[in-house]
Amino acid sequence: MPRYGIAIDTTKCIGCFACRVACQNHNELPPSQAFNWIVEREKGSFPSFSKEFIPAQCNHCEKAPCQRVCPTGAIYTSKEGVVLVHRNRCVGCKYCIEACPYKARVLNHHEGIVTKCWLCIDMVREGGKPACVTTCPNQVRIFGDLDDPDSEISQFIAKNRAQPPRADLNTKPKIFYKRS
């Protein structure tokens, strides 16, 4: 079984938000809800001023705090290591929103449940790639199997020593960042 993840090269991100809307469309989200977002960081001061756009989404943590606190067991990890939400088991208690250190979870009032990035597992299982990956003009996101050492993503992570966000929180994320 593959163990899917995404590697993100922020040095290529231009903050164009194509990934946001592509995701909203594929997942039929309203304008105000999104499964991914961009953090804009300005650094230093002229002449060494620079700016970084950092795309973010659910990290599909191997030790997912959201999953641990979910009373209904609506949150589970798929065989591919993707953290998913059981739509008709969630009661909407929002405990998971508080528990997620990355604030990746989205309250969906229409269904009264809390959802989030699901790694487009529907397309992935049909051999495709997530919407945010394929639409990106600069291929900032690399999607693939973390367990296959020859996969583009594993190579990329190894080559660039890409790091998960806040490894110290020891949630074991499956999203990795190259930031310089």
């Binding site: 231009i14 809307v21 592509a22 469309n25 300005e42 230093g44 009264g112 919407a131 639409t135 003009p137």
Partner: protein
């Protein structure tokens, strides 16, 4: 994402007052809870062309149960190579925008419209238009369209009417860029082989927000291949985020930088000598002129340290011929400054010094397929119309270098006020919002006796039209075959309906065909769009059926590096422009001051510059909730201002400002950032919608009517002396802190 602390404070205050109300909150959501489930049903994919901006990317659109669902880029299309931007995704929802026009409309009062039948519309437009033609001559009629595939049809229509006045958006966009290159190398839009470049220089060009997805992708490929990318911009643009170096320049002075770079290359003899020897004209005079433009001199003009200028020249020369300066678009090299034409000329010349024409990693001409034409024996083309346009384009005494069929959009209102223009058609364009000095533009357009608009919503311009003929939206219509995806290889592409028209709308070709007889030009429009397209495809050995199945077809014939060819009169790259000489215009690139400059002694005085954001197209996406959400969560409607300047004016991030110019006044909030040159403030160009009929985004949160301001509100009506363009960067504003 930013203002959470605030909302929480509000929450606490509010709730300590009305805790009870908040306790009841969950119930208030019952409506939304009960609201409709996700779309369900069978999925269908249709290849077509996006029309959310001028790039017309090739996309595959998915419908679910007959409703537009999502889209993906077409992997082979030269312009987007499988990619799509936020606008492209967001604009899909516009099909269902409640503000859409649902049938032909007749204006019966200020902002009062009445539904009418197509027949009635054609009849009344025909009668009035012919009467005007009788009384004032065909010269008094114009056609304005945002030039895209369909321009061939509109041209034919106007020519048949006997008028030369085909206008485009060019004078507000790219005019000097096209002319400057044409004068120097004989062609106006050379492409760049970024993939193979070792050095890429961007001057006032930001493909990372003024998107061109294909260009962006090749730039990044070039970077992956080790190319150094340098961005020259008064502000830290999105392209700068991709670059190795950001050169922060004083706006309006790029010409000085280029001249100094040429100076260094020539002085140090590091230009491509044998290229210059064999393929260029007038080097000696050029070299002589460049002598005075030392880096020291340029530093004073540009605020760019001379060391950086010298280093730039040396690094480019070292990488040449696999080094390239971007051809430019709207910023700096477009319709920005009085000296923009000279800037473009100098950029073309420095590319010449690097001998990169038709070289690996340099410039090249994209191979374009030659489309076939209708059989003239069956479909005679209308007689050519002689003489210059009313705006003076091609007129030796006025704008000799401004070609026919491009025109000076912003001259239309002036000509209307003078009574020269009496009637016109505005297709897929919104001059009231996209031309300088709206007050004046409105005055002018109001003066017209007949204005016919083609739009899908009641834009600022449509709201002023006497008749509006609703063209079917891009996801509902067929258009003419399109060749602009040809970058390195020849490609044809086509737009076709993804869903059937939701309302009583029609494709342009059909409207023209049905309208023509009422204007007495029926004989020139006896063909259907399908016949037109089949005729176009015939020589390419591609059937319409194949094309509609694929969306884009690649015809190969890939560009290969080789000996340079120049389409100039001399057949060479012209350091000294023979054409400009003929009209005794400054034929050798030389320094020219911008028209206006901020007062260095007044702490309130700034140059106002503007630019695109990747998630908006001009101002036309400002009513799209998915796209406006991006603006609001990031608070990206704000005006960029440098911390030092802000400090002296007591301005803090988020403060409300009033900005004033000779022609306009407006309020906007501040974004204090090191990412902008202290001499200027930067305003995103996507906002300032003032049509009351664009209100959807507001009901969905933020945007549409009344959101933000536009640089055009502050820009006087200028005509640059040589080409007559708008000079959209020549704005000096007074910036003051205000309250609320």
């Amino acid at each position: 994402m930013k203002k959470q602390g605030l909302t929480r404070r509000k929450f606490l205050v509010g709730s300590s007052v009305g805790g009870a109300a908040l306790l009841a909150a969950p119930y208030l959501d019952f409506k939304s809870w009960a609201s409709k489930e996700k779309a369900a049903g069978d999925v269908k994919v249709t290849p077509t062309l996006c029309d959310a901006c001028g790039n017309w990317c090739a996309i595959n659109v998915y419908t679910k149960g007959g409703r537009i669902w999502k889209a993906e880029g077409n992997p082979i299309a030269g312009n987007n190579r499988g990619r799509m931007c936020a606008k492209g995704h967001g604009f899909l929802h516009e099909v269902y925008n409640p503000d859409r026009i649902r049938s032909p409309l007749k204006r019966v009062g200020p902002n009062k419209f009445e539904k009418i039948s197509w027949e009635q519309a054609y009849k009344e437009i025909g009668e009035k238009m012919l009467a005007i033609k009788e009384k004032h001559g065909a010269q008094s009629i114009f056609w304005l369209s945002h030039p895209q595939g369909n321009v061939k049809l509109t041209q034919r229509f106007l020519t048949a009417l006997g008028s030369p006045n085909q206008f485009s958006h060019a004078s507000t966009c790219f005019l000097p860029r096209n002319i400057g290159w044409w004068l120097t190398i004989g062609k106006s839009k050379p492409d760049h082989d970024f993939e193979n470049s070792r050095f890429i220089l961007m001057i006032g060009r930001n493909p990372a927000a003024g998107l061109n997805l294909g260009q962006l992708r090749t730039m990044v490929k070039g970077r992956d291949g080790g190319a150094k990318i340098v961005v020259v911009d008064p502000r830290y643009s999105e392209a700068a985020a991709l670059a190795d170096q950001w050169i922060r320049i004083r706006p309006g002075t790029d010409l000085a930088l280029m001249l100094a770079v040429a100076h260094v290359m020539i002085k140090e003899g590091i230009y491509q000598k044998d290229f210059v020897e064999h393929y260029t004209e007038g080097f000696a005079e050029f070299a002589d002129e460049m002598k005075k433009f030392t880096p020291e001199w340029a530093e004073k003009k540009t605020t760019v340290p001379k060391e950086i200028i010298v280093q730039l020249a040396r690094e480019m020369a070292l990488a040449a011929p696999r080094a390239v300066i971007h051809r430019g678009y709207h910023g700096a090299m477009g319709t920005q400054y009085k000296n923009s034409l000279q800037l473009v000329r100098s950029v073309a010349c420095v590319n010449g010094l690097m001998g990169n024409m038709n070289q690996l990693g340099g410039l090249f001409y994209a191979p374009k397929p030659k489309l076939g034409k209708l059989d003239k024996s069956v479909h005679p083309s209308p007689p050519k119309v002689k003489g210059p346009m009313v705006d003076g384009s091609t007129d030796p005494d006025r704008y000799p270098l401004t070609p026919r069929g491009i025109g000076l959009t912003h001259a239309i209102p002036e000509l209307a006020l003078r009574g020269t223009l009496k009637a016109g058609f505005v297709y897929h364009s919104n001059p009231l919002r996209t031309c300088p000095n709206p007050k004046r533009v409105i005055e002018g357009y109001k003066k017209l006796e007949l204005l016919v608009g083609f739009d899908y919503v009641l834009s600022e311009t449509a709201t002023l039209c006497d008749y509006i003929l609703p063209e079917s939206f891009y996801l509902e219509r067929d258009d003419v075959v399109y060749t602009h995806h040809s970058v390195k290889t020849k490609q044809v592409a086509i737009r076709q309906p993804v869903v059937q028209p939701l309302y009583d709308t029609k494709p342009l070709a059909q409207i023209l065909q049905e309208l023509a007889p009422h204007l007495g030009i029926g004989e020139y429009f006896k063909f259907t769009l399908e016949e037109w397209n089949r005729a176009g495809l015939a020589p390419l050995g591609v059937t319409l059926e194949q094309l509609k199945k694929e969306g884009v077809i690649d015809l190969g014939d890939e560009w290969k590096p080789g000996g340079p060819v120049f389409k100039t009169y001399s057949g060479k790259l012209e350091f000294v422009s023979s054409v400009m000489k003929d009209f005794d215009l400054p034929a050798i690139p030389t320094w020219e001051e911008p028209l206006v400059s901020p007062d260095p002694k007044d702490p309130h005085s700034f140059r106002l510059i503007h630019g695109k954001q990747a998630h908006h197209t001009h101002t036309r996406t400002c009513n799209q909730p998915y796209l406006m959400q991006i603006t609001s969560i990031n608070d990206w409607g704000r005006l960029w201002i440098h911390p030092h300047r802000a400090k002296t004016l007591g301005i803090r991030n988020g403060d409300c400002l009033t900005i004033t110019s000779a022609v306009g006044k407006g309020k906007v909030r501040a974004r204090v950032t090191e990412g902008v040159h202290p001499d200027c403030v930067f305003l995103p160009s996507a906002y300032g919608v003032f049509s009351r009929n664009l209100k959807f985004a507001k009901t969905e949160g933020q945007g549409g009517f009344g959101y933000g301001i536009s640089y055009n509100d502050f820009l006087p009506t200028y005509f640059e002396p040589i080409l007559g363009h708008t000079m959209t960067g020549e704005i000096v504003v007074k910036v003051e802190k205000t309250f609320a």
